[in-house]
Symmetry: C2
Subunit: 194 residues, 2 copies
């Protein structure tokens, strides 16, 4: 399907150049069609963008829910949480989908702010919910220090994840790893029970 190919390539262009910086001419050229042919599949640039964003948000959520599946108890809480951080960092480096979703959630085109923000907030809340579902049984098992509520453990873990994003955006790989390690160790010291 051509529409899928357009969306795939448009996603990469939006991710690298932003909404304004991505041009339909460049996108269509890479797809191998002429610019007006895009209009056989999408009403315009806005509709193309929103379709790409919707799909990207769904894919990010699916990845998180898969990777963080609370049914899977084969490894320890600590390993699962740390592994998820590392996994997401690698995913960002590998997947344009994640780059697109982060960039466009941070800085959406001004005239589409409402549509993007409602989708973004929805995704963030559901990601946080998936994290909470990991912590709750762990807290019941006494793995979390009693001074730390499940909500605090979740919020602080999401903060560590956010900080990983930021360091990746700055692009300094070495510093990213150092910060991740430091943030994780202090986080785990603050959350674990003895």
């Amino acid at each position: 399907m051509t529409a899928d190919k357009i969306m795939e390539i448009a996603l990469r262009h939006f991710a690298r150049h932003g909404y304004e910086g991505a041009s339909l001419a460049d996108i269509s050229a890479e797809v191998g069609i002429k610019k007006p042919s895009i209009y056989n599949h999408f009403k315009g640039k806005d509709e193309l963008f929103l379709a790409v964003y919707r799909d990207a948000a769904a894919r990010e959520l699916r990845y998180v829910e898969d990777d963080l599946n609370p049914e899977d108890r084969s490894s320890s809480l600590k390993d699962r949480l740390y592994g998820f951080l590392i996994g997401y960092k690698e995913r960002y480096e590998r997947e344009e989908n994640t780059k697109f979703f982060l960039r466009m959630s941070f800085f959406p085109p001004a005239h589409l702010l409402q549509e993007t923000m409602s989708m973004a907030n929805d995704s963030i809340d559901r990601i946080a919910a998936a994290v909470t579902e990991v912590f709750r049984p762990a807290a019941d098992d006494g793995l979390i220090h009693p001074d730390v509520t499940v909500e605090h453990a979740t919020g602080a873990y999401m903060a560590v994840l956010d900080s990983v994003f930021v360091e990746m955006l700055y692009g300094d790989h070495e510093r990213t790893m150092m910060r991740l390690e430091a943030a994780w160790q202090v986080y785990w010291r603050g959350v674990k029970n003895n």
Copy 2:
């Protein structure tokens, strides 16, 4: 000076619409001059942007070094660290300078990547150095848990600060405060001695 006014207004437009989305026509109109008159003060859009970026980076660094001045021992380490987080959050909400600096450091115009990245990395390193100067004497006084190095305490604190940025970008004030509180409490539990 007109040049200063141009830079001030350009900063706001770049912060809100990104490099590509900000137009010299809009900027000049708000300044109260015609578009070509900008060229009496700057060689072009690129030079204007780099001048604005340079100033913005310097202002951010100055704010951090002032607010985190290690000479000031009037309040406790805990209060100073927590206060700095809150202060920076409020600064972001108030100052377009911070919004501009964050946005353009995350996603600089592709053809100016080298110039911006070297300035950004320089600023980040110096900000981190200022934070380290707060922790070092505190560690000597035994306020930091012996299992946590000064480097780890600094890195993890910078991570908390990064996460505050992210939450602010998403724009949900209520969630920002909750995440900040959670991140801070877990961080402090992980770092403090006893």
